[in-house]
Protein backbone atom coordinates (compact mmCIF):
# COMPACT_ATOMS: atom_id res chain seq x y z
CA UNK A 1 0.00 0.00 0.00
CA UNK A 2 1.29 3.42 -0.79
CA UNK A 3 0.22 6.95 0.00
CA UNK A 4 0.76 9.82 -2.40
CA UNK A 5 2.02 13.04 -0.83
CA UNK A 6 -0.33 15.21 -2.88
CA UNK A 7 -3.31 13.11 -1.79
CA UNK A 8 -2.82 13.46 1.97
CA UNK A 9 -6.06 14.65 3.59
CA UNK A 10 -6.49 17.09 6.45
CA UNK A 11 -6.82 14.39 9.10
CA UNK A 12 -3.56 12.83 7.97
CA UNK A 13 -1.79 16.17 7.82
CA UNK A 14 -3.06 17.01 11.31
CA UNK A 15 -1.68 13.72 12.61
CA UNK A 16 1.68 14.39 10.96
CA UNK A 17 1.73 17.86 12.48
CA UNK A 18 1.16 16.23 15.87
CA UNK A 19 4.15 13.97 15.25
CA UNK A 20 6.14 17.12 14.57
CA UNK A 21 4.84 18.66 17.74
CA UNK A 22 5.97 15.75 19.89
CA UNK A 23 9.37 15.56 18.23
CA UNK A 24 9.97 19.29 18.34
CA UNK A 25 8.92 19.59 21.98
CA UNK A 26 11.63 17.17 22.97
CA UNK A 27 14.14 18.82 20.64
CA UNK A 28 13.42 22.29 22.07
CA UNK A 29 14.07 21.01 25.59
CA UNK A 30 17.36 19.48 24.52
CA UNK A 31 18.46 22.62 22.70
CA UNK A 32 17.59 24.79 25.64
CA UNK A 33 19.73 22.59 27.91
CA UNK A 34 22.69 22.75 25.54
CA UNK A 35 22.51 26.51 25.12
CA UNK A 36 21.37 27.22 28.64
CA UNK A 37 18.80 29.57 27.14
CA UNK A 38 15.05 29.53 26.89
CA UNK A 39 13.99 28.16 23.51
CA UNK A 40 10.51 28.64 22.09
CA UNK A 41 9.10 26.54 19.33
CA UNK A 42 6.44 27.43 16.82
CA UNK A 43 3.39 25.27 16.25
CA UNK A 44 4.65 22.82 13.62
CA UNK A 45 3.29 22.99 10.10
CA UNK A 46 2.82 20.09 7.73
CA UNK A 47 3.09 21.43 4.21
CA UNK A 48 2.64 19.70 0.90
CA UNK A 49 4.58 21.54 -1.79
CA UNK A 50 5.46 20.99 -5.41
CA UNK A 51 9.19 20.25 -5.55
CA UNK A 52 9.84 23.40 -7.58
CA UNK A 53 8.34 25.57 -4.81
CA UNK A 54 10.46 24.16 -1.97
CA UNK A 55 13.70 26.14 -2.55
CA UNK A 56 11.73 29.39 -2.26
CA UNK A 57 10.24 28.78 1.19
CA UNK A 58 12.97 30.36 3.28
CA UNK A 59 13.05 33.87 1.92
CA UNK A 60 14.46 33.00 -1.46
CA UNK A 61 16.67 30.45 -3.17
CA UNK A 62 19.75 32.69 -2.99
CA UNK A 63 19.59 33.42 0.72
CA UNK A 64 22.82 32.50 2.51
CA UNK A 65 22.14 29.89 5.19
CA UNK A 66 23.83 27.21 7.21
CA UNK A 67 22.16 23.84 6.75
CA UNK A 68 22.66 20.64 8.68
CA UNK A 69 21.39 17.61 6.81
CA UNK A 70 20.76 14.17 8.30
CA UNK A 71 19.12 11.11 6.85
CA UNK A 72 16.53 9.15 8.78
CA UNK A 73 17.02 5.40 9.04
CA UNK A 74 15.06 2.55 10.58
CA UNK A 75 11.36 1.71 10.27
CA UNK A 76 10.83 4.92 8.34
CA UNK A 77 13.21 6.79 6.05
CA UNK A 78 13.50 10.42 5.13
CA UNK A 79 15.56 13.55 5.57
CA UNK A 80 16.04 16.19 8.20
CA UNK A 81 17.32 19.68 7.49
CA UNK A 82 18.06 22.27 10.14
CA UNK A 83 18.55 25.72 8.63
CA UNK A 84 19.97 28.85 10.23
CA UNK A 85 20.37 32.27 8.62
CA UNK A 86 23.96 33.56 8.89
CA UNK A 87 23.37 35.89 11.86
CA UNK A 88 21.56 33.19 13.84
CA UNK A 89 24.35 30.71 13.19
CA UNK A 90 26.95 33.21 14.37
CA UNK A 91 24.94 33.90 17.52
CA UNK A 92 24.58 30.18 18.14
CA UNK A 93 28.36 29.72 17.91
CA UNK A 94 28.94 32.56 20.32
CA UNK A 95 26.45 31.12 22.80
CA UNK A 96 27.98 27.65 22.55
CA UNK A 97 31.65 28.58 22.62
CA UNK A 98 31.34 31.65 24.83
CA UNK A 99 33.16 33.83 22.28
CA UNK A 100 32.96 34.69 18.62
CA UNK A 101 34.96 32.42 16.39
CA UNK A 102 37.71 34.24 14.46
CA UNK A 103 37.35 32.09 11.38
CA UNK A 104 33.60 32.63 11.39
CA UNK A 105 31.17 30.12 9.98
CA UNK A 106 33.70 28.76 7.51
CA UNK A 107 35.89 27.55 10.40
CA UNK A 108 36.02 23.91 11.38
CA UNK A 109 35.19 24.54 15.03
CA UNK A 110 32.08 26.54 14.15
CA UNK A 111 30.93 23.95 11.68
CA UNK A 112 31.36 21.00 13.98
CA UNK A 113 29.58 22.89 16.76
CA UNK A 114 26.61 23.59 14.49
CA UNK A 115 26.58 20.00 13.25
CA UNK A 116 26.48 18.84 16.85
CA UNK A 117 23.47 21.08 17.52
CA UNK A 118 21.77 19.60 14.45
CA UNK A 119 22.62 16.16 15.76
CA UNK A 120 21.17 16.84 19.21
CA UNK A 121 18.00 18.34 17.77
CA UNK A 122 17.49 15.46 15.34
CA UNK A 123 18.23 12.73 17.86
CA UNK A 124 15.85 14.12 20.45
CA UNK A 125 13.20 14.79 17.80
CA UNK A 126 13.42 11.24 16.47
CA UNK A 127 13.60 9.72 19.96
CA UNK A 128 10.27 11.28 20.87
CA UNK A 129 8.83 10.24 17.53
CA UNK A 130 10.06 6.66 18.02
CA UNK A 131 8.48 6.44 21.42
CA UNK A 132 5.19 8.00 20.35
CA UNK A 133 4.78 5.93 17.19
CA UNK A 134 6.43 2.83 18.58
CA UNK A 135 8.93 2.72 15.73
CA UNK A 136 12.69 2.41 15.61
CA UNK A 137 14.03 5.55 13.96
CA UNK A 138 17.58 6.93 14.10
CA UNK A 139 19.44 9.79 12.43
CA UNK A 140 22.59 9.40 10.32
CA UNK A 141 25.72 11.39 11.09
CA UNK A 142 25.20 15.05 10.16
CA UNK A 143 26.59 16.85 7.12
CA UNK A 144 26.85 20.63 6.85
CA UNK A 145 26.77 23.22 4.09
CA UNK A 146 27.04 27.01 4.20
CA UNK A 147 25.58 28.27 0.95
CA UNK A 148 22.44 29.32 -0.94
CA UNK A 149 19.22 27.93 0.57
CA UNK A 150 18.03 26.83 -2.87
CA UNK A 151 21.20 24.86 -3.56
CA UNK A 152 20.84 23.01 -0.24
CA UNK A 153 17.14 22.28 -0.53
CA UNK A 154 17.16 21.21 -4.17
CA UNK A 155 19.96 18.78 -3.32
CA UNK A 156 18.10 17.04 -0.51
CA UNK A 157 15.00 16.79 -2.73
CA UNK A 158 16.78 14.85 -5.45
CA UNK A 159 16.22 11.44 -3.90
CA UNK A 160 12.56 12.20 -3.23
CA UNK A 161 12.12 13.49 -6.78
CA UNK A 162 12.74 10.02 -8.19
CA UNK A 163 9.34 8.92 -6.93
CA UNK A 164 7.34 12.08 -6.34
CA UNK A 165 6.70 15.55 -7.72
CA UNK A 166 5.67 16.77 -4.28
CA UNK A 167 7.39 17.00 -0.90
CA UNK A 168 5.89 16.83 2.57
CA UNK A 169 7.66 19.17 4.97
CA UNK A 170 6.99 19.06 8.69
CA UNK A 171 8.43 22.38 9.78
CA UNK A 172 9.08 23.82 13.24
CA UNK A 173 10.80 27.05 14.10
CA UNK A 174 13.06 27.25 17.16
CA UNK A 175 13.69 30.69 18.57
CA UNK A 176 15.76 31.87 21.51
CA UNK A 177 14.28 34.30 24.00
CA UNK A 178 15.43 37.49 22.36
CA UNK A 179 15.05 36.03 18.83
CA UNK A 180 18.84 36.28 18.26
CA UNK A 181 18.81 32.63 17.30
CA UNK A 182 16.11 31.60 14.88
CA UNK A 183 16.36 28.23 13.15
CA UNK A 184 13.99 26.18 11.03
CA UNK A 185 13.81 22.43 11.44
CA UNK A 186 12.36 20.35 8.60
CA UNK A 187 11.49 16.67 8.52
CA UNK A 188 10.76 15.23 5.09
CA UNK A 189 9.51 11.64 5.24
CA UNK A 190 10.07 9.48 2.15
CA UNK A 191 7.00 8.54 0.15
CA UNK A 192 7.33 4.84 1.00
CA UNK A 193 7.43 5.63 4.71
CA UNK A 194 4.25 7.69 4.85
CA UNK A 195 1.81 4.83 5.26
CA UNK A 196 4.02 3.21 7.93
CA UNK A 197 4.16 6.45 9.88
CA UNK A 198 0.42 7.11 9.52
CA UNK A 199 -0.50 3.57 10.44
CA UNK A 200 1.72 3.54 13.50
CA UNK A 201 0.01 6.64 14.87
CA UNK A 202 -3.42 5.19 14.22
CA UNK A 203 -4.44 7.12 11.12
CA UNK A 204 -5.31 5.39 7.79
Amino acid sequence: MSVKIEELNNIELDALREVGNIGAGNAATALSQVLNKRIDMSVPRAKVLELSKVPEILGGAEKLVVGVYLKIYGDIQGSIMFLLPTESAEELIETLLGESEPEGLAGEISQSAIMEVGNILSSSYLNALSEFANLTVVPSTPALAYDMAGALFSTILIELSEVSDYALLIETEFTSDGREIDGSFFMLPDVDSLHILLKSIGVS
Binding site: K53, A61, A106, T141, G150, F153, S154, I158
Partner: protein, 159 residues
Protein backbone atom coordinates in the same frame (compact mmCIF):
# COMPACT_ATOMS: atom_id res chain seq x y z
CA UNK B 1 11.18 44.75 -23.43
CA UNK B 2 14.15 43.07 -21.74
CA UNK B 3 12.75 40.47 -19.38
CA UNK B 4 14.48 38.29 -16.83
CA UNK B 5 12.79 34.91 -17.00
CA UNK B 6 13.16 32.67 -13.97
CA UNK B 7 13.40 28.90 -14.27
CA UNK B 8 12.57 26.83 -11.18
CA UNK B 9 13.94 23.40 -10.35
CA UNK B 10 12.68 20.60 -12.59
CA UNK B 11 11.74 22.99 -15.37
CA UNK B 12 13.03 24.60 -18.58
CA UNK B 13 12.16 27.70 -20.56
CA UNK B 14 13.07 29.13 -23.95
CA UNK B 15 13.08 32.71 -25.20
CA UNK B 16 14.85 35.16 -27.51
CA UNK B 17 17.00 38.29 -27.35
CA UNK B 18 17.04 40.59 -25.39
CA UNK B 19 15.62 38.39 -22.60
CA UNK B 20 17.71 36.74 -19.93
CA UNK B 21 17.11 33.24 -18.57
CA UNK B 22 17.91 32.82 -14.89
CA UNK B 23 17.99 29.93 -12.46
CA UNK B 24 18.85 30.37 -8.78
CA UNK B 25 20.76 28.12 -6.43
CA UNK B 26 21.93 25.16 -8.50
CA UNK B 27 23.34 22.64 -6.05
CA UNK B 28 23.63 19.02 -7.16
CA UNK B 29 21.15 19.81 -9.91
CA UNK B 30 22.53 20.68 -13.34
CA UNK B 31 21.72 23.69 -15.50
CA UNK B 32 21.89 23.15 -19.27
CA UNK B 33 21.83 26.05 -21.70
CA UNK B 34 21.37 25.91 -25.47
CA UNK B 35 21.93 29.03 -27.55
CA UNK B 36 21.70 29.81 -31.25
CA UNK B 37 24.06 32.75 -31.71
CA UNK B 38 22.77 33.58 -35.21
CA UNK B 39 19.07 33.76 -34.34
CA UNK B 40 19.73 34.82 -30.71
CA UNK B 41 17.31 32.29 -29.31
CA UNK B 42 18.08 30.03 -26.36
CA UNK B 43 16.84 27.82 -23.57
CA UNK B 44 17.79 26.89 -20.03
CA UNK B 45 16.89 23.69 -18.18
CA UNK B 46 17.33 22.95 -14.45
CA UNK B 47 17.35 19.17 -14.05
CA UNK B 48 17.41 17.03 -10.89
CA UNK B 49 17.93 13.49 -12.15
CA UNK B 50 19.85 11.77 -14.96
CA UNK B 51 17.33 9.62 -16.76
CA UNK B 52 13.63 8.86 -16.95
CA UNK B 53 12.92 5.14 -16.86
CA UNK B 54 9.19 5.59 -17.31
CA UNK B 55 8.51 6.76 -20.87
CA UNK B 56 4.77 7.09 -20.08
CA UNK B 57 5.39 10.03 -17.79
CA UNK B 58 7.75 12.63 -19.21
CA UNK B 59 9.06 15.29 -16.87
CA UNK B 60 11.63 18.08 -17.14
CA UNK B 61 13.09 16.91 -13.81
CA UNK B 62 14.97 14.29 -15.88
CA UNK B 63 17.93 15.36 -18.00
CA UNK B 64 16.90 13.31 -21.05
CA UNK B 65 13.31 14.58 -21.15
CA UNK B 66 14.29 18.19 -20.45
CA UNK B 67 16.98 18.29 -23.15
CA UNK B 68 14.77 16.67 -25.80
CA UNK B 69 11.73 18.82 -25.05
CA UNK B 70 13.73 22.04 -24.82
CA UNK B 71 15.46 21.27 -28.11
CA UNK B 72 12.06 20.56 -29.69
CA UNK B 73 10.75 23.97 -28.62
CA UNK B 74 13.89 25.73 -29.79
CA UNK B 75 13.60 24.11 -33.22
CA UNK B 76 9.97 25.25 -33.42
CA UNK B 77 11.16 28.80 -32.75
CA UNK B 78 13.45 28.63 -35.76
CA UNK B 79 16.71 27.58 -34.15
CA UNK B 80 19.12 25.65 -36.38
CA UNK B 81 20.74 22.67 -34.68
CA UNK B 82 24.18 23.44 -36.10
CA UNK B 83 24.13 26.93 -34.55
CA UNK B 84 23.50 25.67 -31.05
CA UNK B 85 26.10 26.18 -28.34
CA UNK B 86 25.55 24.20 -25.15
CA UNK B 87 26.92 24.88 -21.69
CA UNK B 88 26.49 22.94 -18.46
CA UNK B 89 26.71 24.20 -14.89
CA UNK B 90 26.22 22.78 -11.40
CA UNK B 91 26.41 19.18 -10.25
CA UNK B 92 28.11 20.13 -6.99
CA UNK B 93 28.32 18.01 -3.90
CA UNK B 94 26.67 20.21 -1.31
CA UNK B 95 26.89 17.82 1.63
CA UNK B 96 29.55 15.27 2.29
CA UNK B 97 28.91 12.54 4.80
CA UNK B 98 31.84 10.87 6.47
CA UNK B 99 32.96 7.92 4.36
CA UNK B 100 30.81 8.78 1.33
CA UNK B 101 32.22 8.30 -2.16
CA UNK B 102 32.41 11.49 -4.22
CA UNK B 103 32.17 9.63 -7.52
CA UNK B 104 28.78 8.36 -6.52
CA UNK B 105 27.38 11.78 -5.60
CA UNK B 106 24.14 12.69 -7.33
CA UNK B 107 25.74 15.86 -8.66
CA UNK B 108 28.51 13.90 -10.36
CA UNK B 109 26.04 11.40 -11.80
CA UNK B 110 23.92 14.23 -13.18
CA UNK B 111 26.89 15.83 -14.93
CA UNK B 112 27.99 12.53 -16.47
CA UNK B 113 24.46 11.82 -17.71
CA UNK B 114 23.97 15.28 -19.22
CA UNK B 115 27.27 15.04 -21.09
CA UNK B 116 26.34 11.65 -22.44
CA UNK B 117 22.92 12.82 -23.64
CA UNK B 118 24.39 15.88 -25.36
CA UNK B 119 27.06 13.73 -26.97
CA UNK B 120 24.46 11.30 -28.31
CA UNK B 121 22.66 14.28 -29.86
CA UNK B 122 26.01 15.35 -31.42
CA UNK B 123 26.34 18.57 -29.47
CA UNK B 124 29.73 19.85 -28.48
CA UNK B 125 29.83 21.38 -25.01
CA UNK B 126 31.19 24.90 -25.43
CA UNK B 127 31.82 25.57 -21.75
CA UNK B 128 31.18 24.01 -18.37
CA UNK B 129 31.48 24.94 -14.73
CA UNK B 130 30.63 21.83 -12.76
CA UNK B 131 31.52 19.97 -9.56
CA UNK B 132 32.92 21.54 -6.42
CA UNK B 133 31.06 21.89 -3.15
CA UNK B 134 29.18 25.15 -3.67
CA UNK B 135 25.94 26.41 -5.18
CA UNK B 136 25.64 28.48 -8.36
CA UNK B 137 23.16 30.98 -9.78
CA UNK B 138 23.28 31.39 -13.55
CA UNK B 139 22.01 33.90 -16.06
CA UNK B 140 22.03 33.40 -19.83
CA UNK B 141 22.03 36.64 -21.79
CA UNK B 142 20.19 35.94 -25.05
CA UNK B 143 21.62 39.03 -26.73
CA UNK B 144 25.11 37.57 -26.89
CA UNK B 145 25.04 34.09 -25.33
CA UNK B 146 27.12 35.07 -22.31
CA UNK B 147 26.48 32.93 -19.29
CA UNK B 148 27.10 34.58 -15.93
CA UNK B 149 27.83 32.21 -13.04
CA UNK B 150 27.48 33.62 -9.51
CA UNK B 151 28.48 31.88 -6.28
CA UNK B 152 28.79 32.75 -2.63
CA UNK B 153 32.45 32.87 -1.72
CA UNK B 154 33.72 31.29 -4.95
CA UNK B 155 33.60 34.30 -7.23
CA UNK B 156 31.64 35.27 -10.27
CA UNK B 157 32.51 34.62 -13.89
CA UNK B 158 31.24 34.63 -17.43
CA UNK B 159 31.62 31.47 -19.45
Amino acid sequence: MNASIKIGIADYKVSKSPDRLVTLGLGSCVGITMYDQINKIGGLAHIMLPKNNNPEKRSPKFADDAIEDMLGELLKMGVRTRNIQTKIIGGAQMFSFAGANNKKSVGHRNVVAVKQILEELKFRIKAEDTGGTFGRTIELNLENGELRVKTIGHGEKII
